[in-house]
Assembly symmetry: C2
Homo-oligomer: 245 residues x 2
DNA sequence: CGTTAGTTTGACGGCACTCAAAAGTTGTGG
DNA sequence: CCACAACTTTTGAGTGCCGTCAAACTAACG
């Protein structure tokens, strides 16, 4: 990959940037890393210019070259099957890393696309692997990130019915977006209901019905993509209520 | 953890063993590692004596101390929710590693129990972390294993209907058990149908109906836990046929 | 041989999918 | 600013898969 200080392999303008000054640094690279570590990370991280909505970061099948960090906006990963059906695999919000799906066999298994105008950082896998050898804390953090990713994957499966899965989803997104908003339990969903439905394994119609019901019963308030969690306790009950058996 | 050469924290007799002579070494620690690496791994790996079916390797909430490798038999991981409902998270067959779920936050999120008389190796996380710093190939392999685990998690979610999920499951298990059997596409399931159903998110009754239908249509042959994949091509169609939309 | 746990089979009901159409929202050009 | 098109979201009616409940059946074990 012939990336230099002025262009990336993806045709997006690139600027060097000090990770030490990034407001998201604690989230991205863990608060445990010292100042000198951040300087070293700075040397290998590149920042993309602003990307429009729908910009493709990488495609399934691409050779694995880099790990990405969402800086602003949001990124969706998805697969396209042989039959042309698309499945949303996950959403990545500011401060979150993506690309680890390709560690083995060094080829991306997902497509990654921006859902809105976004910016991202990226760092070549080769560089970060080498740096890991010098910074044990970083190596641990990579494992932590993958581990967290592993546990998140459980989420979409949790819940026997649609209402439960939506409740879990709302809690998850709220927690991840909390930094962005002043008042808690109120936020804007960066993705369409169609994508949420796909991600949670049901249809847009069902998604719409569930949201309507939650609003009708006063648990949440919805206006377009803006969501307010009104009765957090009740939503928690809905999310956690197990298999009725 | 006060493990020494003769006893483990779990009350199971322990023996030092040379990884270099283990028939599963390529599967466990990747074929890429040289002889000297295997000797170093040998120094930190401990082997359990034979454990009976139902033996608990670790519990959810336990402090994360070690990574385990199934040597013979099989291990199931599962969670127990506050309401007492149990969910099967995965099955681990000979040559497979487990315990990575606890890298963060250094506490196990699952319970792990043997499904049949089994043996396992284990290695303290502290030791292997340190060894990773000296053996870059090992560090990469740890990431590979976690990455593979990540992709496996998709599996249980794949498939809109029960038949499809079962087909995928059978393919997956067959591939992982292939080493154990002379003739391909024929194997014994190490787990009950109840556990499979739980893992795939439906009821034992549905599981039973699906298996019956697959047998009636001549796609597979089932006797108790023994399974033969008769029409592999057809089973592949069933597994891969996407969302009808 | 009796007990127990696991598996199979059947009847019934509900949740979510399908099909269809209306209503609301976004973007574009006149 | 309005008109129109394209898309997303909502709502309704009908159907089917799978969950639920219940009971019969089959190993496995003492």
């Amino acid at each position: 990959m012939g990336a230099n200080a002025n262009s990336s392999a993806h045709g997006v303008p690139v600027f060097g940037l000090a990770c030490g000054f990034c407001p998201l640094r604690d989230w991205c690279w863990s608060a445990g890393l010292g100042e000198s570590a951040l300087v070293q990370i700075h040397d290998i991280v590149r920042r993309s210019g602003s990307m429009p909505a729908g910009h493709q970061l990488f495609c399934a099948g691409d050779h694995f070259t880099a790990i990405y960090a969402v800086r602003s906006g949001s990124v969706m990963t998805y697969t396209t099957t042989v039959n042309g059906y698309q499945h949303v695999h996950g959403f990545h919000l500011p401060g979150e890393l993506l690309g680890f799906d390709a560690v083995y066999p060094e080829r991306h298994r997902f497509n990654a696309v921006t859902l809105e105008p976004s910016t991202a950082c990226f760092v070549s896998y080769r560089d970060i692997s080498e740096l890991c050898r010098r910074l044990p804390g970083l190596q641990t953090h990579i494992l932590v990130v993958m581990s967290r990713e592993l546990s998140r994957q459980q989420l979409c499966a949790v819940g026997s019915d649609a209402t439960q899965r939506v409740a879990n989803f709302l809690f998850d997104v709220e927690a991840r977006l909390r930094r962005k908003y002043d008042s808690a339990f109120e936020f804007d969903l960066p993705m369409s209901r169609e994508y949420i439905a796909n991600y949670l394994h049901f249809t847009p119609e069902t998604m719409s019905r569930v949201m309507a019901k939650l609003q009708r019963t006063g648990v949440i308030s919805v206006d377009r993509r803006h969501v307010r969690l009104l009765d957090v306790a009740r939503l928690g009950q809905i999310a956690q209520s197990d298999h009725p058996a």
